[in-house]
C-alpha cells in the first residue's frame, strides 16, 4: 500500500463511516419500500388483473373452438386476436412488475452490502486504540508488508465456492422471491464479508496516507515510476485477458450459431427440426428474431452505456479538482453543489457512485426481463451472455465498493494535489470497466 502514514486518524473519524452507512441503508430501505413494495404492489395487482383477462379470453377462445364456431388455426378470428392481445398485455404487466420489484430488491441488497462494508470497516478500525493509529514508527520510506491481500483472496475463494448457490439465490431474486434467496446467498455473503474485512484492513493502512513517501520503482522497465501505478496497469492487463477469454468464447460460438442474421445473410442453413439460435440481442434489439425487442428493451443497456461514460468523466473531474492548486467555484447550481474543493471532489465521486449503482440496478432489471422471456443461463447463448455481462457487473460492483472508500476519504482526510494519485489509480480501473463495456455492449446487445 502506501509508503508511510503521517496523518493521525482518530476513532471519531472512523465512526463517520457509520453515519455514511446509515444514510445509504436509509436510502436503500426507502427505495425498496417505494419501488419494491408500494409501486411493485400496484403493478402486481395490475398483472393479476391482466392475467385474469387473459385466462378469460383464452377460455372464450377454447370454448369457441370446442363448439366448432371457429377453427383453432384461424388467426384472424376475433376471439383469437382478443386472446393474443390479452396475452400481450399480461406479459407487459408482468415485466412492469418485475422492473419495480427487482429494482427495489436490488437497491436494498446493494445498500445492505454497502452498509455492511462501511460498518465493518468503520467499527474494525475505530475499535483500535487511538494511539495505535500512528503508523510512522516504521519510518515513512519503509515498505509495509500487508496481510490485506491474503484476507481478501480468502474471501474471494469462499465467495467462489458459494457462487453456484449465490447464482441460484440471484435467480430467485430475479423471479421476485426474496425469502428463498437468503439461504442460497449465505456462503457467498460470508465470502463477501471476509473480503470486506480484508478491505477494511486496507483502509486502515491507506487512509492516513497523505502522499509523501510514494514508493518508486528502481529498475527497468518501470524505473522512476510509482510502483502502485505500474501495479495497477499490470493488473488491468491481466483483466484484459480475462475479458478476452469471455469475448473469444462468444465470438467462437457466435460464428457457429445459425442466428437469424446469419440465416438471412445465407451463411447457414437449417436442417429439419432445427431452430434459429437466439442471442440476447435477438431479444433486446429492435427487429431481433425473438420479436420482443423495441426501444424500451434496448433502453437499459443504452442508459448503462451513457452512465458509464458519464461516470468516467465525473471521476476525471474529481481527479482534476484534486490536482488543482486553485479551485474555482462554478457559478449557478454547480456552485451551490460544489462550494469548495473538498465538497467538489466528494460530490463528483458520489455522482460516480450513483451512476455505477444505477448500472447494477438496470442490469438486474434487464436480466429479470430476459429470464422472464425464456432467455436463461441454461442455453449456450444465455450462458456466455450472463457470464460475460455478469463478470463485468461484478467488476462494476467491486469498483463501487472502492468508490465508497474514496468518498469516505474525500469526506475525512481529504484528497489534495499530494495524494490525488489514489483517485488516478482507481480511475484507471474504472475507465477499464468502461472500456470493457465498449466491447461488450455492441457485441452482445447490438450485433
Amino acid at each position: 500500500m502506501s509508503g508511510g502514514g503521517h496523518s493521525d486518524v482518530k476513532n471519531a473519524v472512523w465512526m463517520r463511516a457509520l453515519l455514511m452507512a446509515g444514510i445509504i441503508l436509509g436510502l436503500g430501505v426507502a427505495s425498496y419500500v417505494g419501488l419494491g413494495v408500494v409501486v411493485a404492489g400496484m403493478k402486481e395487482t395490475t398483472w393479476d388483473e391482466e392475467a385474469d383477462h387473459f385466462h378469460d379470453a383464452e377460455k372464450d377462445w377454447k370454448d369457441a373452438v370446442a363448439a366448432g364456431t371457429i377453427e383453432s388455426d384461424d388467426t384472424s378470428a376475433e376471439l383469437y386476436i382478443a386472446k393474443e392481445a390479452a396475452h400481450h398485455h399480461e406479459i407487459d404487466a408482468h415485466l412492469s412488475y418485475l422492473t419495480y420489484r427487482v429494482a427495489g430488491l436490488t437497491m436494498l441488497f446493494v445498500s445492505i452490502i454497502f452498509t455492511a462494508f462501511l460498518v465493518i470497516s468503520g467499527v474494525l478500525n475505530s475499535a483500535q486504540p487511538d494511539d495505535e493509529h500512528h503508523d510512522d514508527h516504521h519510518g515513512h520510506e519503509e515498505h509495509h508488508g500487508s496481510a490485506s491481500p491474503i484476507i481478501f483472496a480468502f474471501g474471494c475463494m469462499l465467495f467462489l465456492i458459494g457462487f453456484p448457490d449465490f447464482a441460484d439465490g440471484l435467480h430467485s431474486l430475479m423471479l421476485g422471491s426474496g425469502s428463498d434467496a437468503i439461504s442460497d446467498l449465505s456462503v457467498g455473503m460470508i465470502g463477501l464479508t471476509i473480503i470486506t474485512i480484508g478491505i477494511a484492513n486496507w483502509w486502515r493502512e491507506d487512509l492516513p496516507f497523505k502522499g509523501y513517501g510514494e514508493q518508486i520503482a528502481t529498475s527497468d522497465p518501470f524505473a522512476g515510476q510509482h510502483i502502485r501505478k505500474a501495479g495497477i496497469w499490470v493488473f488491468l492487463m491481466s483483466e484484459v485477458m480475462v475479458f478476452a477469454t469471455f469475448f473469444s468464447s462468444y465470438l467462437r460460438m457466435r460464428t457457429e450459431w445459425c442466428t437469424k442474421w446469419a440465416f438471412d445473410e445465407g451463411t447457414c442453413t437449417l436442417e429439419d427440426g432445427e431452430t434459429l439460435a437466439m442471442t440476447a440481442s435477438d431479444y433486446l434489439r429492435p427487429g431481433g428474431a425473438a420479436g420482443t425487442g423495441d426501444f424500451w428493451t434496448l433502453l437499459p443497456g443504452a442508459i448503462n452505456t451513457f452512465a458509464l461514460i458519464i461516470s468516467s468523466y465525473t471521476i476525471v473531474l474529481a481527479l482534476k479538482v484534486a490536482k488543482s492548486h486553485d479551485y474555482k467555484v462554478p457559478t449557478g447550481f454547480m456552485g451551490k453543489l460544489m462550494p469548495d474543493k473538498k465538497s467538489a471532489i466528494r460530490n463528483y465521486l458520489i455522482i460516480t457512485l450513483a451512476l455505477g449503482t444505477m448500472f447494477i440496478v438496470l442490469k438486474l432489471v434487464e436480466w429479470s426481463h430476459l429470464i422472464a422471456e425464456g432467455f436463461t443461463v441454461g442455453s449456450q447463448e444465455g450462458s456466455i451472455f450472463y457470464i460475460s455481462t455478469g463478470a463485468h457487473g461484478v467488476h462494476v460492483f467491486a469498483g463501487l465498493l472502492i468508490m465508497l472508500y474514496m468518498i469516505f476519504k474525500a469526506d475525512t482526510v481529504e484528497w489534495d494535489e499530494d495524494n490525488a494519485q489514489g483517485i488516478e489509480y482507481f480511475g484507471l480501473y474504472w475507465h477499464f470497466v468502461d472500456l470493457a463495456w465498449v466491447v461488450i455492449f455492441p457485441a452482445f446487445y447490438l450485433y
Binding site: M237, M241, T245, R252, A262, I309, K320, D434, L435, Y447
Partner: protein, 122 residues
C-alpha cells in the same frame, strides 16, 4: 495532464467526453435502422460489423488515450497496455482454426505451412 490544453475554452477531457457521447448515440441509434434511410436496401451484417468496430476503436482510443492518460504518460504504460493485443490476436487465430469451417474453409495463408494444401487434402 490534459486539463492544461484548452480547445475553445474547454479541456481535452470535456471534448473527449462529448465525442464519446456522440459516438455512443450514433452506435445505439444505428441499430434502429434495418434498411438504409430512404431506400429499400437492407443493411448487411458486414456493414454493421464495420460500424461497430470503427466506433469501438474510436471510443476505445478516447478512453485509453485521454481518460487513462496514455497520450501523455511515459510510453512504458502504452507498451503494457498493448501487450495483451498479442494474446488477443492469438485467440482470434485460435477461433479461426477451431471453427467448424476452420479446417477446410480457410485459405492456405491462414493455416500453418502445409504446402498451400488444406489439411483434409493431404
Amino acid at each position: 495532464m490534459g486539463e492544461h490544453k484548452l480547445i475553445m475554452g474547454k479541456d481535452i477531457y470535456f471534448w473527449n467526453f462529448i465525442i464519446l457521447m456522440f459516438f455512443t448515440l450514433f452506435e445505439v441509434g444505428a441499430v434502429f435502422f434495418e434498411k438504409y434511410p430512404g431506400t429499400n436496401t437492407r443493411v448487411s451484417v458486414y456493414v454493421v460489423w464495420g460500424i461497430l468496430i470503427v466506433v469501438g476503436i474510436i471510443k476505445g482510443f478516447g478512453i485509453g488515450a485521454f481518460f487513462m492518460h496514455l497520450w501523455d504518460d511515459p510510453k512504458i504504460y502504452l507498451r503494457v497496455a498493448l501487450f495483451p493485443t498479442l494474446f488477443v490476436l492469438l485467440m482470434l487465430w485460435g477461433i479461426g482454426l477451431s471453427n467448424p469451417e476452420g479446417v477446410n474453409g480457410l485459405p492456405g495463408w491462414c493455416t500453418p505451412d502445409w504446402g498451400e494444401q488444406y489439411a483434409t487434402e493431404r
